[in-house]
C-alpha cells in the first residue's frame, strides 16, 4: 500500500516537470512551424517520445499494463545512385545529409503517433488532476485507470502494427531475395566452371577420336577411355551441384530422413530425434536441412566435438530445431559467417536463431520457425464446445413453446375473450397477472431465439479474431 502511495506521489510530482515541458514543447512547435525554424521539430518530437516511453515503462512496472510503442520504423539511410549522387524527390545532392534529413522529417511528420503523443502530453496533467480523488483513495485502481488512459493515446494501433509488419516483411523479403540471388550466382559459377568446362573437354576428345579412329585405332581407344572417365567425373561434379541446390534425399524422403542421412554422412557421432506430426512445406524443409547441415559441419570443423544431438520437434504449428554438440564452445554468431547465413535463410520464414555457447562448451543452437506446420485438426477453437452446441440445440428445440402457444396464442385468446383456457399458463392465473405473464412469455421466447443465433456467431467471431492479426478497434 505504501509503495502504491509512493508511486502515486511520483506520478503527481512528475507534473512539476510536465507543465514546464508543455510550455517548452509548445514554443518549439510554434517556432518550427510559424517562424520556419524547422530544425527544432525533430528534437521536439524526440523529447516527447522520451517522455512517452518513460510513461510506458512506469505503467508496465507499476500497473502491469503493457503498452506497445506505436512508432513507425525509422527510414533507412539514403542509398547513392549509380552516379554517386543522392536523390530526394526531384533534386540530386552530393552528400546524404539533406536527403537523410528530408526522410527524417517526412517520417516524423507523417507518423500519426507523433501527434497522438503531443495530444497525450497536453491532456495528461488534466487527466491526472481529474483522477486525483481516485488516486488518493484507491491508489491501485487509480493507477490502473491511469494506465488505460495512457494506453489509449500511447499504445499501438492496428494501423501502426500493420505498418511495422509491412516494413518487417519488406526487410525479410529483401534478405530472402539477396540470399537467393547469391545462391543462383554460386550455382551458375559451379556449372560454368565445372560441368560446362568438362563437357567441352569431352566434346574435344571425341572430336579427336573421330579423326584418329581410322589411322590410329589404338590411340583412339585410349582417348575414348579418357572421355568415359571425364564423363564420370562430370557426373560426380554435377551430383555435388545438385546436392547444393536441393539434396535428392530431401526430395525423396522428406526432412526427417534427410537429416538422418546427414547424420550418417557426418564424421561425428550424431543422434537424431525427430518428432514431427506433419511434413512442413518444401522450402521450409530445405532451409532447415541446410541449417542443420551447416551446424553439423561447424561442429566438426571448429568445435572439436565428438558427439552431436539433433532434435526436431513441433510446438503447436511452430517447428523447433536444436543442435547440441559437446565441443569447445565459444561460437559467436557475430563472427561466424555460417551462422549469419543460416539466420538469413530462416528470416524468410520469420524464423529465429539462438546460440548458447559458453567457452568450454557445450554449444546449443536452437532455431524456431513459427507457423510453418499445418494446423492440427483437433483444434479446440475451431469447433463449438460440446456444452455450447447442446445449449443451442435445446434452445432451438424449446423456444417455440413460450413464444407461440404460451405467448402469442394466449394473447389472441385473451384479446378475443375466448372461454377456452387449454394449457395456456397465463389464462389460468388471476386477472391482473394475465397480461404481464403473456408479455414475459413472448419476451422469453424471443430471447431464447436470439441466444440460439448469437452463441455460434460469437464463437465464430472469437475464432476469426484469434486467427486475424491482433489490433485494437479504436483509432
Amino acid at each position: 500500500m505504501l509503495r502504491r502511495y509512493g508511486q502515486v506521489s511520483t506520478l503527481l510530482a512528475l507534473l512539476l516537470v510536465q507543465v514546464p515541458m508543455i510550455v517548452l514543447m509548445a514554443m518549439m512547435l510554434l517556432l518550427s512551424f510559424a517562424l520556419g525554424m524547422v530544425f527544432l521539430f525533430p528534437p521536439q518530437v524526440m523529447m516527447v517520445r522520451k517522455l512517452a516511453e518513460l510513461n510506458r515503462r512506469r505503467m508496465r512496472d507499476w500497473a502491469d499494463v503493457e503498452i506497445e510503442a506505436p512508432y513507425l520504423p525509422a527510414p533507412p539511410p539514403p542509398v547513392p545512385q549509380a552516379d554517386g549522387m543522392y536523390r530526394s524527390e526531384r533534386t540530386l545532392y552530393k552528400t546524404p545529409r539533406v536527403p537523410a534529413w528530408n526522410n527524417r522529417w517526412k517520417w516524423l511528420m507523417s507518423d500519426p503517433a507523433t501527434w497522438r503523443d503531443e495530444v497525450w502530453l497536453l491532456l495528461d496533467p488534466v487527466v491526472k488532476v481529474g483522477l486525483l480523488p481516485l488516486l488518493l483513495l484507491l491508489p491501485g485502481r487509480g493507477l490502473r485507470v491511469y494506465a488505460r488512459w495512457s494506453g489509449l493515446l500511447l499504445g499501438a494501433t492496428a494501423a501502426s502494427r500493420l505498418a511495422g509488419q509491412v516494413s518487417h516483411l519488406r526487410r525479410t523479403r529483401n534478405l530472402a531475395a539477396d540470399s537467393q540471388a547469391a545462391e543462383m550466382r554460386r550455382i551458375e559459377r559451379d556449372l560454368h566452371d565445372g560441368t560446362q568446362a568438362r563437357l567441352v573437354a569431352i566434346g574435344m576428345t571425341l572430336g579427336a577420336v573421330e579423326q584418329l579412329v581410322e589411322t590410329d585405332p589404338n590411340a583412339a581407344k585410349a582417348l575414348l577411355a579418357k572421355a568415359r572417365e571425364a564423363s564420370s567425373e562430370t557426373l560426380t561434379e554435377l551430383r555435388r551441384v545438385i546436392r547444393g541446390i536441393h539434396p535428392p534425399v530431401l526430395a525423396e524422403r522428406g526432412l526427417a530422413d534427410a537429416v538422418r542421412a546427414l547424420a550418417m554422412d557426418s564424421p561425428l557421432d550424431v543422434t537424431v530425434d525427430v518428432q514431427l506430426p506433419h511434413r512442413p512445406e518444401a522450402p521450409v524443409e530445405a532451409a532447415v536441412y541446410f541449417a542443420v547441415s551447416e551446424l553439423l559441419s561447424n561442429a566438426a570443423r571448429h568445435g572439436d566435438a565428438r558427439s552431436v544431438v539433433v532434435d526436431l520437434s513441433a510446438n503447436d504449428t511452430g517447428l523447433l530445431v536444436t543442435v547440441t554438440d559437446d565441443g569447445l564452445g565459444g561460437a559467436d554468431p557475430a563472427r561466424g559467417s555460417g551462422l549469419t547465413g543460416i539466420e538469413r535463410r530462416l528470416a524468410a520464414f520469420d524464423g529465429v536463431l539462438a546460440v548458447h555457447s559458453p567457452p568450454g562448451g557445450p554449444t546449443t543452437v536452437s532455431m524456431e520457425l513459427p507457423k510453418v506446420l499445418p494446423q492440427p485438426w483437433t483444434n479446440e477453437l475451431g469447433k463449438l464446445p460440446r456444452w455450447k452446441s447442446v445449449t443451442v440445440i435445446a434452445l432451438w428445440g424449446t423456444a417455440w413453446c413460450p413464444t407461440f402457444p404460451q405467448g402469442l396464442v394466449a394473447g389472441v385468446f385473451k384479446l378475443f375473450g375466448a372461454r377456452e383456457k387449454t394449457w395456456f399458463l397465463a389464462l389460468h392465473l388471476p386477472g391482473p397477472w394475465q397480461w404481464p405473464v403473456i408479455v414475459a412469455m413472448i419476451l422469453l421466447g424471443v430471447y431464447m431465439y436470439v441466444m440460439a443465433i448469437r452463441i455460434p456467431a460469437a464463437h465464430d467471431r472469437e475464432r476469426f479474431m484469434a486467427e486475424a492479426a491482433p489490433g485494437k478497434p479504436w483509432c
Binding site: 568415359r228 564423363s231 557426373l235 535428392p248 525423396e252 550418417m264 557426418s266 557421432d269
Partner: protein, 216 residues
C-alpha cells in the same frame, strides 16, 4: 540364373540396359517404368535378378527402393540391384538391414564400365552383394576414429574396401595385383583385427564386414 527384370523410367537408359544385358547372355523378362508395375513384376515373375532405379513414377520419390524392399519382405533374398543418381548410406543400410544378401547398390555411372557392371549383376544374382565404392568410402570415413580400423595397414584397408564392395578373393587379387593366397592372408588378418569370425563363404564374409561398418 539369367532371367532379369529392369525398372527404369528413362527410355534411353532402359533400352541401353536391355541391350547391354542381352549382349552378355541375360534374358530380359520384363522392362517396366513405374513403381506399381515393378512390385507386380517382382512378385509374379520372380526374376533371378532385377535392376531397379530408385526414383520412379508416379511419385518420383523413392518408389523403386520401396518396391524392392516390399518385394524382399515377401520373398526374402530376392536379388535386387538398385541404381541411383546419388548414393546414400541411409538407403544402403535399409537394403542391407535384412541381412539376407543378394543386394546391390550402385551409382548409375557404373553402367559406363560394362564389364564391371555385368560382373556386379552376376554377383548379386548369385546372392552376393555389390556396394558402390562411394558408399564404402563414406562408411570408412564415418569409422575413421574407430580404433580397430585405424590399426589396419594401408594394404589391408584396400583389401577391406574391395571386400566391402562385395568382391571375391579372386576378384580382389586381380584388382590389387596380388596373389590369391596373399589376399587370403590379408583378409584373415583383417578379421582378426576387427574381431570378426572368419568364414569361407564369400557372401557371408562380406555381409559381416558391412554389418561391422554399419554398426556404429
Amino acid at each position: 540364373m539369367n532371367r532379369v527384370l529392369i525398372a527404369e523410367d528413362l527410355y534411353l537408359l532402359r533400352d541401353g540396359l536391355v541391350h547391354l544385358l542381352q549382349a552378355h547372355g541375360f534374358t530380359v523378362v520384363a522392362a517396366v517404368e513405374s513403381g506399381p508395375e515393378l512390385l507386380k513384376g517382382l512378385l509374379e515373375l520372380r526374376p533371378d535378378v532385377s535392376i531397379v532405379d530408385v526414383r520412379l513414377p508416379p511419385t518420383f520419390t523413392d518408389e523403386g527402393l520401396q518396391a524392392a524392399l516390399a518385394a524382399r519382405k515377401q520373398l526374402p533374398g530376392l536379388p535386387v540391384l538398385v541404381l541411383s543418381q546419388h548414393v546414400e548410406q541411409l538407403y544402403a543400410r535399409e537394403l542391407l538391414a535384412d541381412g539376407s544378401g543378394g543386394i546391390g547398390y550402385l551409382l548409375k555411372d557404373r553402367v559406363f564400365n560394362a564389364e564391371q557392371f555385368v560382373d556386379a549383376v552376376r554377383r548379386v544374382a548369385a546372392g552376393g552383394t555389390a556396394m558402390d565404392p562411394e558408399v564404402i568410402a563414406k562408411l570408412l570415413a564415418r569409422n575413421a576414429r574407430n580404433e580397430p580400423l585405424a590399426a589396419l595397414t594401408p594394404r589391408e584397408r584396400e583389401v577391406l574396401e574391395a571386400m566391402a564392395e562385395g568382391r571375391s578373393n579372386a576378384a580382389i587379387s586381380q584388382r590389387l595385383y596380388l596373389s590369391e593366397s596373399a589376399v587370403a592372408k590379408h583378409t584373415a588378418s583383417i578379421f582378426a583385427k576387427l574381431g570378426l569370425v572368419p568364414s569361407d563363404d564369400d557372401n557371408r564374409r562380406v555381409l559381416a564386414v558391412l554389418a561391422y561398418l554399419n554398426s556404429r
